[in-house]
Amino acid sequence: MSEFNGFKKVLNNPFSRRSFLKLSAVAAGTTALVGCSSSLKTISENTVAADDGIKIIPTTGPNNCGGRCVIKAHVKDNVIMRISTDTETDDPRNPQIRACVRGRSYRKYFLSPDRLKYPMKRVGKRGEGKFERITWEEAVETIASEIKRIGKEYGPGSRYVNYAWGYNAQIHPMNLSKRLLALDGGYLQFYNTYSTAATSFATPYTYGTASTGNTPDDWVNSKLLILWGFNPAETIHGSQTMYRLRQAKEAGAKIIVVDPRYTDTAVGFADEWIPLLPTTDNAVMDAMAYVMITENLHDQAFLDKYCLGFDEEHMPEGIYAGNSYKSYVLGESDGVPKTPEWAEKISKVPATTIRHLAREYATNKPAALIQGWGPQRHAYGEQPVRGATVLAAMTGNVGIYGGWASGAGYAGRQRIGSIPIGENPVKAKISCFLWTDAIVRGTEMGAKDGVQGADRLPANIKLIMNTAGNTLINQHSDINKTAEILQDESLVEFIVCSDLFMSPSAKFADILLPGNSFFERNNIGTPWGYGDYVMYANKVIDNLYESRSEYDWLVEVADKLGFKDKFTMGNETEEDWCRYVVAKTQENHPEFPSYDEFKKRGVYKWFYDKPYVAFKKQIEDPENNPFPTPSGKIEIFSQRLYEMNEPKEIPAVPKYISSWEGPEDPLTEKYPLQCIGWHYKRRSHSTHDNNPWMEEAARQEMWMNPEDAKARGIKTGDKAKVFNDRGTTIIPVLVTSRIMPGVVAIPQGGWYQPNEKGEDIRGSINVLTSLRPTPLAKGNPQHTNLVEVIKQ
């Protein structure tokens, strides 16, 4: 202080006080605040509210994690003081639904100062990230007029609603956008998902349905659980799944995990871990079948009674000999017996391990071979799906307690209401993975590209609504190529995005809207598949800044387009729609509580005496209950696939297909490592990537086996460049024997962040992935990638 004058002293000195007068005078006139009056006002009336204390309001997170957990917001005067989770009494029939680490950080994440705050329009080039604030009126006006203009100019089929699951609940932003366009003449629809394209598509070729799962409360009845690429510790499938796994383990079930990675599920539960090279699952499955057949461990009676196409004696009429699964396995049709030694060479699973696994599965009945979704997100992802269904049939584990039919494994006992999308006048459909193709060459796409409902697409995609999703860039394949396509403003002419943060996808918006978080809207949510409960997501605070729910502004767009009433069906608010959803649910479930009761408690749980077992009826009384397949049998051989006449890539019985960018591809000389992704416990897909607490919990890093690391001089913590012809990403490495040699794994969902050289610096795996779809489902082959890694 000594060399400086105190303010008091300064002001006391008339001379220096005068120096301030000018600033004071200028400052006094400072009232012309741009776009805003004063920030404080006198409290009107007598609203000096008494302290009304803390209210505890139940809600639930909307992350697309597969779970759905109880979140209790402790709210005071519109401020969430803290959050807690389920405190209801535990009941083993339907236990507590407790939040994971991500859930515990919802407050941290969704109240981040970095939230998008105002509607914006793009001012730079598309994708550059330059935006300017606009009013909601301007945003709504622009969206409505672009929808109209593009619909007129290119036809309604040029308008596309992109796959978007950043917000997973019954009132679903993506479906609301579809509802809007359906009422305005239609839009190009998609089928499939990025999660389960191959399994949802291929499982029905065996069983006639994808609902092939028992409910997880049945696992306790299994003697053996084979978790094949199934990692529920990280990829939550209903929030109580791990509880069910623990119950099974405690009841004495043996647990074997098949996965290139020693996953968290394996660490916690596995008696054995069997690593195999990605894309080689069917080699191991075929060899298991070989062992069962040659050692006569298979359930021939079951196969005879319920299945079609296992052996030559049970083939559809008119099919030449040698097309049965057995003939293929024994090498009678192609001269290659699928012995464990044959499979060992391909998969790197020792022949003795394969023999042992086959014997374990065949002799421990009931047993459940449960497939995760990783193995089917591959170049030939349809094959492991059907391969495992054959093994389930061969061991007679279909339709019984403790068994598991394999395949998609969906199991849901409830029918929860949702908002109708409405009839789409445009009939053409694409696989959700092929939208970038439909931008570039839509009108050339037909049946060969998986187009359904039309011979050709009516138009290329010209308008994209991307509401609450990051698949526009980050979660699609080949980010560099995708960005290039989107940057060309002559292709897609208009993109509207709604998001909470400036995500890589949001950067590509022409109009970018600030979404509100689940704390700020009412909704109703369920977990992915497993879990007998439904949750009410109560709105607990007001919208932050000028953020709004998608419904809110879509109603205004509908109004501009002249069909507001049809769009809302009289439901002005989301809460009105919640009432609608509850009413629909009550229709399906008369026992369901009243709206108010449900809203107040925040959760409704169903209780059942017994697990649900898929195909129980079909097995117990096959005469009266055929499988919903054309033959009424379990179709190990599918005539429908046979007739597609693509035996190399779409065989009628499941087969090992040596994959492009698999371990046998000559490209391994240039790119010797297989790179897979996985669902990281610190993110839900790409959500939470920008959540600093989650980065502390588990940082973004690539797993690499010590053998591969040593050969490249890489140590844990080193940054590495991972690259192939499609792109480069830079990521720190974890050197660990938890992953097998020859394979590296990058947790999916890191936010693409290019440096000046165009290299991603956030370990965003999709700069490496390919746009080539799977042959049958036209699904995404996200884990089929060859790469090289060098120390950065």
Partner: protein, 241 residues
């Protein structure tokens, strides 16, 4: 100090008004980007020139230097353009859409979770409420925005001026509130906030403003403490009566 002396009262009033205006100025500039006219006026007047010789403290001097330079250098700049440029910077620093370079909210600095709408927001809301005020965009924008807090100080000082000319016994309490609000809130996070602005901004203008504000609020607390001492006897006297 002769409290009842008209001269010193006059002087005090002048001091208060100066402070009130400066707080208003800082509050406005940190709450919103400025219009072209506003900037034009500021540049033409260049009120920082004369402040250069006031050795208030290092920050303050640095601030006046930078702002004086800014005014000088931009005499010829097209005001619309300048306003646009500074607006872009304002958004980059305080609003987004990218990750904020300097979040302007108290709770982001003092709350343990570094979020908006936290305990601090409620505390600030209470402070405003005590004086019969609330934020315009209640529940929509956090109450503890640095810009609003600075403007609240300005309001408090304005009330002090009213007390001075009316019920003098309320002045003491007002001074305590000013001191409390400044020390427990603005000064508790302001310096960290200003440092973020200083380190992350690409515009001398905001750097200067942050230096100036930092220097000013730091000294203003000392000022208030001295003022409190001077007014204490008077307050006690008033109480005795």
């Amino acid at each position: 100090m002769h409290i009842e002396g008209n001269n010193s009262l006059k002087q005090l009033e002048e001091e208060l008004i100066i402070r009130k205006n400066i707080y208003n100025f800082l509050g406005a500039y940190f709450y919103n980007p400025q219009s072209a006219e506003e900037l034009k006026k500021l540049i033409e007047e260049n009120p920082f020139e004369e402040l250069k010789n006031i050795h208030l403290n290092e920050y303050f001097m640095k601030g006046t230097d930078l702002l004086e330079e800014f005014c000088k250098n931009n005499l010829e700049t097209e005001p619309q353009q300048l306003s646009k440029r500074l607006k872009e910077e304002f958004y980059r620093l305080f609003i987004g859409p990218e990750r904020l370079k300097a979040p302007p909210y108290e709770s982001v600095y003092l709350g343990k979770d570094k979020i908006v709408f936290d305990v601090q927001t409620l505390q600030i809301r209470d402070c405003y409420r005590c004086w019969g005020l609330e934020v315009e965009k209640k529940y929509q924008e956090p109450d503890d925005h640095i810009g609003i807090e600075l403007q609240f100080m300005s309001y408090l000082i304005d009330q002090a001026v009213l007390s001075l000319n009316g019920k003098k016994e309320t002045l003491y309490e007002n001074l305590l509130d000013q001191q409390y609000f400044l020390s427990q809130h603005i000064l508790a996070f302001g310096p960290d906030f200003f440092q973020l602005v200083i380190h992350n901004t690409q515009e001398d203008f905001y750097q200067g403003l942050a230096f100036l504000a930092h220097g000013f609020i730091k000294e203003d607390l000392n000022y208030l403490r001295q003022l409190q001492k001077e007014w204490e006897p008077y307050f006690k006297m008033a109480q005795a009566i």
